[in-house]
């Protein structure tokens, strides 16, 4: 399988570990990722400002990706949501598409509409196939309890309904369980991480993040697994400040899914960028080792 690969702003700048693990895991599965050139922001963050900027920015990315003649894979749920929503809108409204394409023609770009956009988990589950992912596992993560966190913009995107149920999603849980780990029940599993409120109300954002981390911890999770940079940053980068403000000690490791899968494939921790996760992941690797002995 060969895809064009779109990281999105936050993975590019702040989460090289997510990027690194994605590439290592892809390599093991025989997936070729072709980096998208001139990959500007998908436009999601412009949506509160003006009505059409996000659509123009999304279409720009889609048009650039279409030139590669490959399906696009992203590791960001926000990008997945924004790009697929733009695609649906452009398909539904040809006049709007014409208008946006006219704007893009100034830089020689044009979006046709044949491109397929997928989040990494959809590509793994459906294109690569769950069974093949399973057969890539060399070291079972049996004994590890994982709180799988989907991210709102993955499951609550209209496009996702073609793949899974927004209110009872399954894809990530199954992907986690083929590693041998247990994807546990936690009451607030589908609740928002609060990351998007950060630029407007920091206290509220951290409060929401704390509610989730506490819930995962109370449910007995050894770690949280994410597939979204905003959620990863919220749970991992902000965890110590969230803990301090709420007078709690969580120390709950947070891994992106490719990092978890990479461990199960037997890939070296450093090659998965695990040393860059803010909350040390020692407790996770210890749990894995102690149960495999």
């Amino acid at each position: 399988m060969k895809y064009s690969y779109y990281m999105g702003c936050q993975v590019t700048t702040r989460l090289p570990n997510y990027d690194l693990a994605t590439r290592k895991v892809a390599e093991k599965l025989g997936i070729e990722l072709v980096d998208l050139k001139d990959a500007s922001c998908c436009g999601f963050f412009t949506r509160p400002f003006t009505p059409t900027t996000w659509l123009a920015m999304s279409t720009r990315v889609l048009a650039i990706a279409e030139k590669t003649k490959l399906d696009l894979v992203t590791v960001c749920t926000g990008c997945y949501s924004t790009l697929t929503e733009a695609q649906a809108l452009l398909k539904e409204k040809p006049r709007l598409k014409e208008k946006i394409n006219k704007l893009l023609s100034k830089e020689g770009l044009k979006y046709g509409g044949r491109l397929k956009v997928k989040h990494l988990v959809q590509a793994l589950y459906f294109d690569i196939d769950l069974e093949k992912v399973k057969s890539s596992v060399k070291e079972s993560l049996g004994g590890l309890k994982v709180a799988s966190h989907y991210g709102c913009h993955l499951i609550r995107t209209p496009d996702y309904e073609k793949y899974d149920d927004a209110e009872a999603p399954n894809i990530l849980d199954e992907l986690v369980e083929v590693t041998g780990a247990e994807s546990i029940y936690w009451p607030l599993k589908l609740w928002c991480c609060g990351g998007m409120t950060l630029p407007v109300d920091e206290n509220l954002s951290f409060k929401l993040g704390g509610i989730k981390i506490k819930d995962a911890k109370n449910a007995g999770a050894h770690c949280i697994v994410t597939v979204c940079p905003t959620c990863q940053l919220q749970f991992d980068f902000h965890q110590s400040i969230i803990a301090r403000r709420t007078d709690q000690k969580y120390n709950l490791p947070v891994l992106t899914y490719p990092q978890l899968l990479g461990l199960a494939m037997g890939i070296n921790e450093k090659k998965l960028g695990l040393q860059l996760n803010r909350i040390p992941v020692n407790s996770v690797t210890r749990t894995i080792k102690s149960t495999s002995e």
């Binding site: 500007s40 409204k93 709102c152 609550r156 589908l190 928002c192």
Partner: protein, 170 residues
């Protein structure tokens, strides 16, 4: 949280009767007229407890024509954009999408909160929501990651100007 019902008398002379149609004619706001006030949006909302006016109340105010009040509510901006309301609304109002329309209107009339404006400025200058720093570039190289392809900010900026984005960031 206990439920305390507060009543107040609303002065209707300042209502803008056509406001709901102004919202309904937009792509994201087309569902607003269908709201029958079941409140599932507010029940599903992670920030409901943190705001004075909850999502279903904002929608009700839109329908009543309380334009000035609506565009001043903090609710619009602290919406965590989780889309739980969009998925659950039985009338397909898409409250989170309606919030985008209201934010666009508020951005034009009252401006965008500073924290968000800073993100907007970075998009304008970098073509991304965050600047890729020298440090981050070196870190990527040390990990053996490929160089990030340069963004054609000049072309992107024209797109942002053409769609009126630049004015709202100033």
């Amino acid at each position: 949280m206990g439920t305390k019902v507060e009543t107040e008398i609303i002065e209707s002379s300042s209502f803008v009767p056509g406001f709901k149609f102004e919202v309904a004619k937009t792509i994201d706001g087309e569902g607003v007229l269908r709201c029958f006030q079941c409140g599932i949006c507010s029940a599903s909302c992670p920030v409901s407890d943190a705001v004075k006016v909850r999502p279903h109340q904002v929608i009700r105010e839109v329908l009543l024509g309380m334009k000035d009040e609506v565009l001043s509510h903090k609710t619009l901006w602290v919406c965590s954009i989780c889309f739980a309301c969009n998925v659950r609304c039985p009338q397909n109002v898409k409250p989170a999408s309606v919030m985008f329309v209201l934010k666009n209107m508020a951005a034009k009339e009252k401006g965008v909160p500073e924290g968000l404006k800073a993100v907007g400025k970075t998009i304008l200058e970098e073509g991304m929501i965050q600047k890729l720093t020298e440090f981050q570039t070196k870190k990527r190289a040390a990990l053996g990651l490929p160089k990030v392809s340069k963004i054609n900010v000049k072309d992107l900026r024209r797109l942002l100007e053409d769609t009126g984005f630049e004015e709202t960031v100033r």
